[in-house]
């Protein structure tokens, strides 16, 4: 506890990254593994759950110190932190606990969580007897579930990398794998041997940077920016940017795993991709995108994919409804060989080789490269992104290795602007078929000179629960009727997405949308914050000049 408290105080006492780094290095250099792994859990893993309530801590501290509860409340107001307040008011102790951190967990924290009230008071008093003021502060934070320390995961990774003399990416890779607070796992994470990594963990993802990343970039034109920064088009490989879930598909002899970019394990949501693993060579890692895929051989909207991720109890019908495909675009490991240092073009060639053998597999595809002769040529193809239901274009330097994180310079994304607008629901109509009892067809309006002008209808995009909620709102807030149409109080705002727009005499707003759909309810916006017709006209103007 004394070592860990020292670390906490050192990290807390400084705002300088270099000093925090030194504190972390000093700590992890000297701490025994059985304690180090708990510190690591506290710094980069999960915070312990609350073992005792604030009210109870306050009461036991009041009994121990003789300070009335009202005065503890005054102190809490002044100090702003209960853990600290209680540490400061308890009778002073000249002892400093040498109890190892792992025993703080096994002998105090876990028992505290399972004890009854009188035993909790005994345990707390026993701990207070042993700890000094600073240790009490840290201890209070641990037991009340409020342990936080101002240090980023990145910095902890750097400290561990420095003391093991390994690349931070390797440490990151090991921390990504599932591990438990055991000395063995700690030794594995800090092993100086590069290859002692968890076979099931994903490699750190390489992330693309948007082109013209800064709004105040002196070059405001995309093409000129590309010419200036990316120079020769033949050095670059272009692909479509898919609107799906970035993922690594890892196949080992005994298991196949799918990890999302948030380093979440998502294998269970996509059993058909797990089955794919068996078709790949052992010890192969693919990087790519999971995309909902229509039978017309084109991507479906991201919302379809998300429904599969969100589904808690697996619904087989839904699986049949929404077919998915893993579009591979990189090969990080093949038959146990780490290929990340190889040039992008090489990895791409090997990837195509493997996938060619699996061409008939409906759940696997290679994200195709786009042939282009010049940046102008690519810009023209990019203009068709919306028709292809992709988000734009990815550019990857052919000679570059697979880096980690947001390293700039070798991967760029050139996205198209999405067509969305925030509109107010003003009319509603009953649906048809199984939704005939509900109001499911909505008309939306935008502001124009202080009045709401209807501009589009939209039917799809909401979940059943959301439809019921909106239906309930419509019934309670109807202001008039006209045949089957209900006029509704203009209170709900929705984000409307669409694929394109054109001028139209038949619409009152003068503009017709292509494939309008509701993307989500903007509960964060009030009706007066919805967009104006002017905004829509500007989009129309841009679409012509694109």
């Amino acid at each position: 506890m004394h070592r860990f408290t020292r670390l906490f105080i050192d990290l807390d006492a400084t705002t300088r990254t270099s000093e925090k780094l030194t504190a972390l290095e000093n700590y992890f250099r000297s701490v025994p593994p059985e304690d180090g792994v708990w510190a690591l859990t506290l710094l980069v893993g999960k915070r312990p759950r609350r073992a005792i309530s604030h009210t109870e801590m306050r009461r036991i501290a009041s009994e121990r110190s003789g300070i009335p509860l009202w005065l503890i409340a005054e102190c809490h107001d002044a100090a702003g932190d209960l853990s600290e307040t209680l540490a400061l008011i308890l009778p002073e102790s000249d002892r400093c606990s040498l109890r190892p951190l792992h025993r703080v967990f096994s002998e105090w924290l876990t028992p505290l969580r399972n004890a009854d009230e009188p035993s909790r008071a005994l345990l707390l008093n026993e701990a207070w007897d042993e700890l000094d003021t600073r240790q009490r502060l840290v201890f209070h934070k641990l037991i009340s579930g409020s342990f936080r320390v101002g240090v980023q995961r990145r910095l902890v990774v750097r400290a561990l990398a420095n003391i093991t003399a390994l690349d931070p990416a390797i440490i990151e890779h090991r921390l990504n794998a599932p591990w438990k607070p055991t000395p063995d796992d700690y030794r594995r994470i800090l092993s100086p041997h590069e290859h002692d990594s968890d076979p099931a963990a994903p490699y750190p993802f390489f992330l693309a940077t948007p082109i013209r990343p800064s709004a105040n970039d002196p070059i405001t034109d995309d093409l000129r920016w590309l010419e200036h920064h990316l120079a020769d088009p033949s050095d670059w490989l272009a692909e479509w940017k898919w609107d799906g879930i970035r993922a690594q598909l890892i196949h080992r002899p005994s298991l196949t795993m799918l990890w999302s970019r948030g380093e979440e394990h998502i294998t269970d949501a996509f059993p058909e991709l797990r089955a794919l693993g068996a078709l790949l060579p052992d010890n192969t890692v693919l990087d790519g995108e999971i995309v909902a895929w229509s039978d017309q051989d084109r991507p479906l909207p991201f919302s379809d994919l998300q429904r599969r991720l969100n589904r808690k109890q697996r619904d087989l019908m839904l699986f049949d409804d929404i077919p998915i495909r893993f579009l591979a675009y990189d090969l990080l490991e093949l038959e146990g060989r780490d290929l990340r240092e190889a040039p992008t073009a090489d990895r791409r060639a090997r990837l195509q080789n493997i996938c060619a053998r699996l061409a008939s597999e409906q759940h696997l595809g290679v994200s195709p490269t786009i042939d282009f002769a010049s940046w102008e040529d690519l810009a023209e193809q990019r203009a068709a992104s919306r028709a292809r239901a992709v988000e734009g274009i990815m550019l990857k330097r052919k000679s570059a290795p697979y880096r980690s994180g947001r390293a700039r310079g070798d991967w760029w994304k050139w996205k198209i602007d999405p067509y969305t607008i925030d509109a107010v629901l003003i009319y509603a109509q009953r649906g048809s078929g199984r939704r005939a009892s509900l109001f499911t067809d909505y008309t939306f309006a935008l502001w124009d000179n202080g009045e709401l002008v209807p501009f589009t209808k939209a039917y799809s995009g909401l979940s059943d629960a959301e439809i019921r909620e909106v239906d309930d709102f419509i019934r309670k807030h109807t202001t008039g009727r006209q045949g089957p149409i209900r006029m509704v109080e203009p209170r709900l705002v929705f984000e409307i997405g669409f694929e394109g727009l054109r001028e139209s005499d038949r619409h009152r707003a003068g503009i017709a949308l292509r494939f309008p759909r509701m993307l989500r309810r903007r509960t964060d916006k009030s009706p007066d914050q919805a967009d104006t017709l002017e905004t829509l006209r500007a989009l129309l103007h841009h679409s012509r000049t694109d």
């Binding site: 807390d12 006492a13 400084t14 705002t15 300088r16 110190s65 300070i67 009335p68 009202w70 005065l71 005054e74 102190c75 002044a78 100090a79 702003g80 932190d81 600290e84 307040t85 400061l88 008011i89 002073e92």
Partner: protein, 348 residues
């Protein structure tokens, strides 16, 4: 029935029988000044009474030509059948508690009263230590009147400060500590280890050093910070400056530095963070919670006025837990002196 000898007025604490104000915040005829901090010593009064140690400081702060009468510690002064005595408060050089005792006809009708001014019970080599004073009515400050304030041993704090200074040198950083110009700055100087490196002081502090040195207080050699000596001692020097210097262009001459704040408020992590300084050292010239309680108990007083600080909670605590007749006195100057803006003009 006995009455209070000292009452609270819109000019501050007042003894009607003697017609004397204690630390008045407006101009009066006769003022007793407990110490020269800006929230206790205000300009404009006709005559001032203070300790001989306070006199030169008071002249620096309120003007050379003010009318001052001095009274050494523990010597009586009679005025209108009231006996006035000054007792050491241990706060800063010359700081005093003011004991007023009714004599003659007043002895039966009025309570003796001691006004603490600011005080601390922890050791400080730059001023005479606090002495408890027996009285019936005690008016105490309460700047740190909550149980969360409990000071560490100052020797440990000075060890930390010297270690920090030394450590900064190994990284070629100048050390800068912000602290109150009167009292804390000198106490800090007395605790520094001059073997570590040169010590520079801000002008506002420099001009308050002669009264201390003249009174025989041992302080290490210092230099008033100038562009030249600052440049010459970059990465090595310890600089003592008032809080108002933080973030000012005055700092530029010291090059790369690490900064710290020395104050009782540094006891709380949140206050330390809000100051956005590298380090906070817990060093206060005020009594902490145990200091307040022990000082109050040592007076034997049953009536306790609480002023300057956390008045309401301390009054309630004394009433409910110690069965004392405790009551809050509102003051115009709230908050601890460390946090009030430095009133001395920055002369550098």
């Amino acid at each position: 029935m006995t009455a209070d000898l000292v009452v609270s007025t819109d000019r501050g604490l007042y003894c009607p029988l003697a017609d004397i104000h204690i630390d008045p915040w407006r101009a009066v005829d006769r003022a007793i000044i407990t110490h020269a901090h800006a929230d206790h010593a205000r300009p404009g009064s006709k005559t001032y009474l203070c300790t001989p140690e306070s006199e030169p400081i008071l002249r620096i702060r309120l003007g050379k030509d003010i009318n001052i009468q001095t009274l050494p510690y523990n010597q009586p002064l009679l005025h209108n059948d009231i006996r006035i005595m000054l007792h050491p408060a241990g706060h800063v050089l010359g700081s005093a508690q003011v004991l007023l005792e009714p004599l003659g006809p007043h002895a039966r009708t009025h309570r003796s009263c001691c006004i603490s001014g600011d005080y601390k019970t922890t050791p400080d080599p730059t001023c005479t230590p606090f002495e408890p004073v027996r009285c019936e009515h005690f008016i105490t400050e309460s700047t740190f009147g909550l149980p969360i304030y409990r000071w560490p041993d100052p020797r440990i704090v000075f060890d930390d400060i010297n270690a920090w200074w030394h450590n900064n040198q190994t990284r070629s950083l100048t050390s800068i500590i912000y602290t109150y110009a009167l009292g804390k700055a000198q106490r800090l100087l007395a605790g520094l280890d001059p073997a570590i490196g040169p010590i520079l002081v801000h002008g506002a502090i420099d001009r308050l050093l002669p009264p201390y040195r003249d009174a025989g207080v041992q302080l290490p050699p210092t230099e008033r910070a100038t562009a030249d000596n600052a440049k010459a001692s970059r990465g090595r020097a310890m600089v003592i400056a008032p809080p108002s210097a933080a973030g000012s262009p005055w700092l530029k001459k010291f090059g790369k530095h690490s900064d710290a704040f020395a104050s009782g408020w540094m006891q709380i992590r949140g206050t330390r963070r809000r100051r956005s300084i590298d380090r906070g050292f817990v060093l206060s010239d005020h009594a902490d919670w145990p200091g307040l309680l022990s000082a109050i108990e040592a007076t034997g007083a049953s009536r306790i006025g609480i002023t300057h600080g956390v008045v309401t909670p301390l009054a309630r605590y004394l009433r409910e837990e110690k069965s004392l007749d405790a009551y809050p006195i509102s003051t115009r100057f709230e908050g601890e002196v460390d946090d009030t803006p430095e009133t001395d003009p920055a002369t550098d």
